[in-house]
């Protein structure tokens, strides 16, 4: 087993990893920026190193200081969490160069899956269904020919993209050139990589993803699916649930099967998530996230498995020790993200000093958070403050439990998404379990109307 892990992250996920280390009897080293000096993960970890000032490039992306902190504190591994350096293949290589185990897949897998066009090609080779589309489009003329073949409407996407940046919907040929130029310029500005590719636009799909775990000896299991279709207009997730409601058994089985197929094909190891678009019984591979996800707790609740501990165990060279037959989901779990955002003002991020903070408890409620009464919310980072997770035997009970928990939640000092989540949970669309990724944007548009 690993002896001491440096946690290269902040906020709730850093705390989550420190807790897993402690329960495994492994030492933990936190890193923090000057803006996070009083953060909970700093207080709870065995040791902590300041790695730079508040802005992300100078602290949580400061690779030399992070690696040096791991070495001088005697760590033998680094857990990257999510975001920041979690899907940076070069960082994973640098860890290896310094004798530090990167808790995640091998660098070449991160590289292949990090480039969306390459990932789609690799998945297609593996026999995984992908949305009809193209490889990188070099010119607008090539894009025009491709769109005729794929059939309008099409979606232009940045190969290095994420968060909706460098993405354009093209309904008809007349709009193609402008969309192509806009997408490449936005991708270049956002990712320093202006390359785009094309996909057939699947109208009103659901975003369903499959959690996988794979050890370093070829054993792969899935831990079911999560429905992450409740997304803000910026495509950022707000509410997730496990399992996906109203999903046909045929579609569910295909999703699970394709996830296993994909992992075996690329020789995947550690935890990962395959994201799919689903429409009816059709499912199409979208992308793979080679890290722990924000929404991992809903899977943990229904499978009774600690995914972060499993990541550390796998990175320590231990075999999974169980097979797919040993895994059976139980009950239903929902997660609501409590973000410091003004939901009535296009989810504008909020920063400042918090007043009173009170989180709910009681049966079936789990809170993953780093905040506390009087804590500061720095302006430099992601606005997520907490995840409220409700678990119950049925989906109906989980919704009722979540509503109860959100009404007990108090975060003073900043606007949060708590009320927005409550509003969504109360809609007929959500309660029926028949919703897609356009659900929240439509709800917001109705409000304005």
């Amino acid at each position: 087993m690993l002896r001491k892990v440096l946690v290269a992250n902040r906020g709730e996920i850093a705390l989550r990893i420190v807790r897993a280390c402690r329960e495994l009897g492994i030492g933990s080293v936190a890193i923090f920026s000057e803006a996070d000096r009083d953060s909970t993960h700093v207080r709870v970890a065995d040791e902590a190193f300041c790695v730079g000032p508040g802005p992300v490039p100078r602290s949580y992306l400061n690779v030399p200081n992070i690696i040096s902190a791991a070495l001088v504190s005697g760590c033998d591994a680094i857990h990257p969490g999510y975001g920041f350096l979690a899907e940076n293949a070069r960082f994973a290589e640098i860890c290896a160069d310094h004798g530090l185990k990167f808790i995640g897949p091998r660098p070449e897998i991160i590289t292949a899956m990090g480039d969306k066009a390459t990932a789609k090609r690799v998945m297609a080779e593996a026999g995984v269904a992908t949305t009809p589309g193209t490889d990188i489009l070099a010119t607008v003329e090539i894009a025009r020919e491709a769109a005729e073949k794929v059939g309008y409407p099409v979606l232009l996407k940045a190969t290095a993209g994420g968060g909706g940046k460098g993405m354009r919907v093209v309904e008809r040929p007349a709009d193609l050139e402008r969309a192509f130029l806009g997408a490449t310029a936005e991708a270049e500005a956002s990712f320093k990589d202006g390359r785009v590719y094309m996909e057939k636009l699947i109208r009103d799909p659901r975003h369903i993803e499959v959690q996988v775990l794979a050890d370093e000896y070829g054993e792969v299991v899935h831990l079911g699916e999560r429905d992450c279709s409740i997304q803000k207009p910026s495509h950022q997730k707000l509410i997730e649930e496990a399992g996906a409601p109203n999903l046909s058994e045929r579609a569910r089985a295909r999703l699970h099967e394709m996830a296993l197929l994909a992992c075996r094909h690329v020789g995947y190891s550690n935890a990962g998530t395959l994201e799919f678009l689903s429409s009816g019984d059709d499912v199409f591979f979208m992308e793979m996230n080679t890290r722990i996800q924000v929404e991992h707790p809903v899977t943990e609740m229904v499978y009774g498995i600690d995914l972060v501990k499993e990541q550390i165990r796998i990175a320590s060279g231990e075999p999974l020790g169980y097979t797919q037959r040993d895994l059976e989901p139980r009950g239903h779990a929902i997660e609501c993200r409590i973000n410091a955002e003004d939901a009535r003002n296009n989810f504008a991020p909020q920063a400042g000093k918090l007043g009173a903070v009170i989180f709910p408890g009681g049966p079936g409620i789990r809170i993953d958070t780093h905040i506390f009464s009087g804590a500061s919310v720095p302006p430099y980072y992601d606005s997520m403050l907490a995840k409220v997770i409700a678990f119950a035997n049925t989906r109906e009970q989980a919704i009722a439990r979540m509503e109860r928990a959100l009404r007990e939640t108090l975060v003073e000092g900043v606007s949060t998404t708590t009320e927005m989540c409550l509003e969504i949970l109360g809609t007929e669309g959500f309660r029926s379990g028949v919703y897609d990724i356009g659900f929240l944007p439509r709800l917001l548009a109705q409000r304005v109307g």
Binding site: E34, C50, S59, N65, S68, A69
Partner: protein, 140 residues
Amino acid sequence: MTPENPSEDEPSARAQRLAEFFVNTPLLRMRIERDDEEFEFSRSSLAPGRRASEATVTPEPLVERPVDVLRADVVGILRFGRHEPTLGEEVAEERELAAIEALGIRTSVRARSSGRLTAILCQDGAAVDYGRALFEIERG
């Protein structure tokens, strides 16, 4: 070490009482900050064979000297050089006081200006993180 009820006296009387207190200590320098008042007493040395109480002491008006705090700007292991810095020594501008070793690279910690080294807040061989205060230099 503090005389009884100095705040009940006038400032000059308080200074006198503190001076009397100071001469009966073996200290070369004493500084007291309390509320809005600051007193500093010093003497160059005690004459051989002379008792501390026999030393001549005059209260000096306090001159605020700017203090440079030298901090680590990388994470690594701190090493003193061949000339280990000593408390109270006069250092020249650009004098290397220590270096931080990280990933095979040595980053010097140098005095930004000449002055007197008034605090050494680090130890040779210790791990230091970003922003850690290492030395204080009272500018000369």
